[in-house]
Subunit: 215 residues, 2 copies
DNA sequence: TCAATAATCGAACAGACATTAGATTATTTT
DNA sequence: AAAATAATCTAATGTCTGTTCGATTATTGA
């Protein structure tokens, strides 16, 4: 057996989605390449056709998740809405996004540490291996930059609101961390079958946070 | 070499502290028994004199962390302070506790999932092994109950404050999750060398949360 | 249609790791 | 001071897992 017919062939994105799902449930180290492969009806070996190694696969999952959420939030942050409305919509987008794709949300919270633990190739490794590792480190750095940009979108809106007196003055850094902590935690406890929908949860959280910013 | 002199001998608690520290940095699966042992100058094998296995060690770390924080917060929750003051002090205790013992704080957030992943003994295992596993499952259930009690302490204070009109009415469940998310996140980003002390961070977070509850 | 390329597989490997067994030495109890 | 117990070690075991290799088959382009 080799190479499935085109209509059963697995795309890179299929793998990313399945991987996020498995990662969410088990965590990076407890997730085997075999587990991920099984989720898309492949063997572990086949994954190496799509990704250089396990670390690169994890990074790709996180990159995809981050881009998704950034694409939702950036337009709002750059819009000309009043500060309060802008922040409200950003909260909605982030929280609802987390509840809609719990796999990616939880991964973003839990698996980032595993990214940092990627081990260097041994000193006797080939030149190619060292290059692969350097590329990985580069991409990883870019990922962290993007993540900081994401946090910064919220920070900027809070600061702007304070400056134009629509928000009560707060410590921008701590307020932002407080807010993002509340959001991220949703990805940990949210269950689709729970009492409230993602939309309702987002509204309640936004209400609390905006209330604390009322001048 | 065997058995160190009494004054160099390692206690169960020494191991728990060191283990929490290593776990925080690497995560459960990436932490080897050897790593933990090395942190207290033992060999991996010696750890098995103190703990049945790796899962039991993790559980013991988490139990210790939870008890510490419960001991701080229960007396406040059961005091007769006004609701707002009570909640403020509970927030202080929780957040400051997280910044003082980041090892345990981060473990409580990140490693709980690993607890659930503990694998059953194979069907051909000895009776003793099955008993060990049953005991573990029992202790783990107790741990989760205690953790829910912890969350409930906050929930009760919020509800009480709403009922006696010191707090603006909010959805108690969501507000509590929002609050605990903000707290737990501190354990993720806090660095001792950062701009603000644990005390200052706690004050700013409490201010934000209490402000959102002002009637 | 035929060569090139893409996607997959089975098998095998080397390394790491949790755990056990048995020996050895320090402390405590009788 | 002898016996029992506690704490540690070294060595070995078995399993699991990421990764590589070479073969095999589907698709695509010339």
């Amino acid at each position: 057996m080799a190479r499935k017919p085109a209509d059963q062939s697995v795309s890179r994105e299929d793998i990313l989605l399945a991987a996020a799902d498995v990662l969410q449930r088990n965590g990076y180290d407890a997730t085997t390449m075999k587990d991920i492969a099984a989720a898309v009806n492949l063997t572990a070996a086949s994954l190496y056709h799509h990704f250089r190694n396990k670390d690169a696969l994890l990074l790709a999952v996180l990159e995809a998740g981050l881009e998704t959420v950034l694409n939702q939030i950036e337009p709002i942050a750059y819009s000309s809405l009043p500060s309060a409305e802008k922040l409200r919509q950003m909260i909605y987008a982030h929280v609802i996004g987390l509840t809609q794709n719990t796999a990616i949300g939880a991964s973003m919270v839990f698996e980032i540490r595993s990214l940092m633990g990627a081990k260097e190739p041994p000193t006797n490794a080939s030149i190619a291996d060292h290059q692969t590792y350097k590329d990985f480190v580069q991409r990883r750095a870019t990922f962290f930059e993007r993540r900081d940009q994401f946090e910064n979108l919220f920070r900027v809106v809070v600061r702007e609101g304070i400056e134009n007196h629509s928000f009560h003055p707060v410590d921008v850094g701590i307020f932002t961390k407080t807010m993002l902590g509340a959001h991220n935690w949703v990805g940990v406890w949210y269950k689709p079958e729970g009492r409230l929908s993602g939309q309702q949860i987002a509204e309640l959280i936004a209400e609390t946070l905006l209330r604390s910013l009322k001048p």
